[in-house]
Amino acid sequence: MSIQKFSTIISTAVPLKVQNIDTDQIIPARFLTSVERKGFGENLFRDWRFDSQDNKIASFPLNDPRYSGSILVTGDHFGCGSSREHAAWALYDYGFRVVVSSSFADIFRNNALNVGLLPVKVSETFLARIFTAIYENSGMAQFRVDLESQTFTVLGNGDTEYFNVDSYKKRCLLMGYDDVDYLLSIGDQIEDFEKENE
């Protein structure tokens, strides 16, 4: 067992209304020099959060006192670019448990699922309504992410959308299992396959 079990989340959300956010923005390469998985949250969105003198950039949503919570809501095509899992680690380490967008880059989506960060893909119209709820309530709007029923709900008005998640990965997240546990359990089958295909 090596990921945290994912349970229903009720939280406010941080809006980051930018499309095509690449993993170099999520965590720049110069912060990938560690051999351990810790402390990446400090450098999450480093060059958007801080200027070159390490002063906070007030206009960036993560620095805006109105916005907080374990849900990050972003523009379309989140997580493109490099395969660095450090991007998912940085988001998780910072405190996010859910990222919501109208689409995710493939590698990022897999990485997120593998570390227990839930990527929730919603329709463009629903995404727009989530942003509206955040802005209109100055960041106080609450949302519920229910993995069991695969629903994302704007609690203020009950607006709900169903989201897809692979049934295998859903089980892993709910139980806190990772793929290594499972792959080791079918070791004999893998060995037979390899012999047959030699």
Binding site: N20, V35, R37, S83
Partner: protein, 459 residues
Amino acid sequence: MKAMTLLDKIWDRHVVRTEDGGRCVLFIDRHYIHEVTSPVAFANLDKRGIPVARPLRTTATADHNVPTTGQELPLDDPKARTQIETLANNCRKHGINYFGMQHPNQGIVHIIGPEQGFTQPGMTIVCGDSHTSTHGAFGAIAFGVGTSEVEMVLASQCLIQEKPKSMRITINGLLNKGVGAKDLILYIISRISTSGGTGHFIEFAGEAVRSLTMDGRMTLCNMAIECGARGGMIAPDETTFEYLRHTANAPADFSHAVEKWRLLNSDPEAVFDREYVFEATDVPVMITYGTNPGMAININGKVPANAPADALAYMGFSSGETLLGKAIDYVFIGSCTNGRIEDFRLLARLVRGRKKAENVTVWLVPGSKKVESLIRQEGLDQILDAAGFSLRQPGCSACLAMNRDKIPQGCYCMSTSNRNFEGRQGPGAKTILAGVPAAAAAALTGNISDPRILFNTIY
């Protein structure tokens, strides 16, 4: 029998079992690792007391964080030193073949895999690096993975993956003179967008693709990830076999291997989930103007009216203007996109007898020790040196600026690499992606120049 795509043929042969919901346990033939995305995977295995299942299927090198000068000296960057030593130790402990900085096979992981013949048609190949798509040029399913997946492959030689959708991009006819694989892929990304390939594997087909050398095909597949695809692939043919025949790890019974490899192509009736067709003669010399690889235009064109304002603000460009004549501060030639020997042969041919512009710093970073030694053997180093270029040692270098090869804040860099994201080449650096000829032209003139005009007489 149902007509199959190349993707189907390779994928289906590697499925160990299928889970409820459709995810497949996929057997991985070849695994490449490097110093940045592997240490946490090894540490987790150690923590769980799990050995590496099949160490002979993994090959390791140090590339992302190595310096590109003084590789023979002790590393003075403590963090890089720790990462590289950790990789060396992990490989020693688990019996994994490791090409460290002093090894003649060291280089960028996507350059050395093909170069050494570890990458072969019909294989499934993964690496904790998105540009693993490069290896698809040999007719393989090759894709980038994260560190958890590196751990899975080390532990079991398998991954649990959704089967991607299939896409075919056909390029009819031959490319115009002076237009290369880099221009072609930038053109394709500009047409289908940086997310156009999401969820898909792209098979590149058509006369323009068939006529590319292996080096060109690798450039094309390398950037398949930049349109969001899981990977790119090209059916193997005589060009592929000829390349592999001379590699160190070519199969012992080569003709038998070729017989099997010849079956690796999409059936004529195969149906793809998506298809695009482009005409090769429509592809110009391309450069980027913005902050993702899809923001690319004809080098003689104008920045589009609908270009995103934040990208233009970052780059210091405006809609409607031409980029020709804009001053360039740095030129970077290298990376897994354009750091192979053909790139340096072309560069030397273009700049022979000329001098770089005074205002430009030119970094040449060979993709591997082998590329570096060929540059010297063929005397290209003398031509490049006389032009005032600085030939450095192999690594990823300024492509992602993890090491000290950073483009200074605010400077423009014409780069043969693959990503022009904000800060990719250093905080505040402004990257313009291009092929080797456009980069060579910028190095000589000090500004953005059409290489077909500058080099008209020699290419």
